[in-house]
Symmetry: C2
Subunit: 386 residues, 2 copies
């Protein structure tokens, strides 16, 4: 069964690189999860750009971050906003539909069309809510691998992702080494640190403290979702995506339009107003339960632990070529985390290039205009394809 | 009118350095605030240790941080917990009741006995709640100055504080230069950065999103305070008090007593359980509205802005001797903030010594066992007294 989102189109690959082809596929199960649960089937929403060549050798999988979606390079069908990574993916960009068959899939557990807590449980006819099983980053990669089977792609030219996307790339390389010719891991880490877990836990507690959360049962008609808690969760997370210097440059201590302090509790400072807006607007596009599940998956992520406690084991004998990029102002997944991966790759004898780029934008730099990032990824992908 | 808290005792200075003398004094107004409001009178809860000498030259004021109280060196009368800075203040410590007359006052706006939003508004006979005026760090210092008048102390040998305590020290030095012989500013800053404001705004939004907050009107019989929101606020803030390395060393990715992941949403990781405990236990001892007011005061704090936009102006002609200490792992008030103060002191021709200490504990280091901090403060205070 295949349902369609966005612009319906004939089955088969789209020739229109500008708009992409957005679909949902139901992949038949049983789909066994790391946590022991089994899903009867999983829906995966995805979008493709470009054409798979006759040798089936030009496929590139783009993996999105925590709150992302599959509309990587085309306007979002509902909001009309441009794709979230048009700086990296699109005509003339390092990942180019003129040369690559590009696939981006909404991760398992999310709320943009793939199976997640807001999906209807076929066994009950009601939304899973918190009955959806807890998933892992590896489960996300497994679902993507099934999607690749469905699309007739056995070997990927590249798997590319930043932040949580980079974690999926690592899972791909570790789980399907013979299906990944190259792996691009940007602003990411091979495990969540105590501080990473701590920030996510604040977000989860903010959601669960919202009385509208109701143990996740807020999908009924007339129900109000826990937007207040989700907004606070997003605000806390958003701070971690930016650098202190970037925040200072962007906002400093500048006041809102009124020129003096209110001596009240309205948003006096621009940074307050900005954060409030980030929090509130997020609740329009994201499901609070999905936020719980995906942050949990990230916190559980520890690639070394999955491989006997030694990160190098995850890459033993790998023929995949790796490209790692970190940003000097990223304090969420700092350079030391990328360096730890590079050390493990070196220990495993895998081919790895690594660069720390300078940027004032903190973790978010991977999504922003950093020409050096594009040059690095473009050069790497061309070398792999050659 | 003087009310008593803790161990009642005769008026006059306590001879018992171990227990201190805890009181509340009502300072007659009108007390004009930076925001334009006027309080008819203010209550200030304070504790003293040691004896004022005949020359009245040995008084040391200790300023507490955001959620602190006046029980700096003695057991809390209600919880029985030891004073919050017994490592710095007490027999044999740098601030020693055998040599100093030590005063610590609960800040204006707090909830430990000084006037704040939970206090009864004499004009209405009901708690102020959000009708309490927004206060500033300078207002806090002004109230302390009135307390010093009340205690017969004109000139302080030293004003000492860490974090928000250090901000009060700076306000003292700038507002009452002829009353401050020396100023010890530890792990602090002369203004709140955009990132500092952002974290506080997350906390405020978490509190205000709690339906039990009810615009601050939760003091009535049967009312339930907004503990869930306050706990989330505390959790977010608590992360900023610790370093990433410190969290990793203390918790890493270690699991709770059960040895495997639950694949659920209970606290699997020790760091989750620790943070939840920090959040919940905080709500037993702190008032949510006070948290709003004091974080607001900190966010408003910008000593340069109060002095024509140039920090050096705050210290022009000052004869105060300054001692500044920062910690290399403190990312809340990093060394660069202390250095900016030192540059301003140098520009103003003020006497300043500055040291960055190495500690794995992040911002909280000023409260913890850092022998080098004690040596620095002890040496400085002895030199000043000599």
């Amino acid at each position: 069964m295949t349902a369609f989102l966005g612009t319906p189109s004939a089955l088969g690959m789209s020739e229109d690189a500008r708009f992409g082809l957005s679909r949902v596929v139901t992949l038949p199960g049983p789909f066994a999860l790391d946590g022991g649960a089994v899903l009867a089937a999983v829906d995966i929403a995805y979008e493709t750009y470009g054409t798979l060549n006759a040798e089936r050798s030009n496929a590139v999988l783009i993996c999105h971050a925590l709150t992302g979606d599959h509309h990587v390079a085309s306007d979002h069908p509902r909001t009309g906003k441009p794709g979230w990574w048009t700086r990296m993916v699109g005509p003339g960009q390092p990942v180019d539909p003129a040369r690559h068959f590009i696939v981006c899939a909404n991760v398992l557990g999310s709320c943009m069309g793939s199976s997640g807590p807001a999906s209807v449980d076929p066994a009950t006819g009601r939304p899973y809510a918190m009955r959806f099983p807890v998933i892992t980053l590896r489960d996300m990669a497994r679902a993507q691998a099934l999607l690749m089977d469905h699309l007739g792609v056995r070997v990927l030219l590249a798997v590319v992702g930043g932040s949580m996307g980079g974690m999926q790339v690592l899972e791909w390389a570790a789980t399907y080494p013979d299906r990944v010719r190259s792996a691009v891991v940007i602003a990411s880490a091979a495990r969540h640190s105590a501080q990473n877990i701590a920030f996510h836990e604040v977000g989860r507690q903010a959601i669960m403290a919202d009385p509208n959360w109701r143990e996740g049962e807020y999908y009924g008609p007339g129900d109000v979702p826990p937007t207040a808690g989700l907004a606070v969760a997003r605000m806390a997370a958003h701070i971690t995506y930016l650098s202190e210097a970037g925040l200072t440059e962007k906002f400093g201590r500048r006041l809102q339009a009124r020129e003096t302090k209110s001596f009240g509790f309205d948003a006096d400072f621009q940074v307050e107003s900005y954060l409030r807006h980030q929090g509130i607007s997020f609740t329009d596009r994201f499901d609070a339960n999905s936020y719980l599940y995906i942050t949990r998956a990230m916190d559980y992520f520890d690639l070394a632990e999955e491989h006997g406690g030694r990160l190098a084991n995850a890459f033993a004998g790998s023929a995949t070529r790796f490209c790692l990029v970190s940003f000097d102002s990223d304090w969420l997944y700092p350079t030391s985390e990328s360096r730890a991966i590079v050390h493990a790759l070196n220990a495993a004898g895998a081919a790895a290039s690594f660069v720390e780029l300078s940027s004032p934008f903190g973790h978010d730099a991977f999504l922003l205009d950093v020409p050096e990032l594009n040059r690095v990824v473009d050069g790497f992908l061309r070398a792999v394809a050659a």
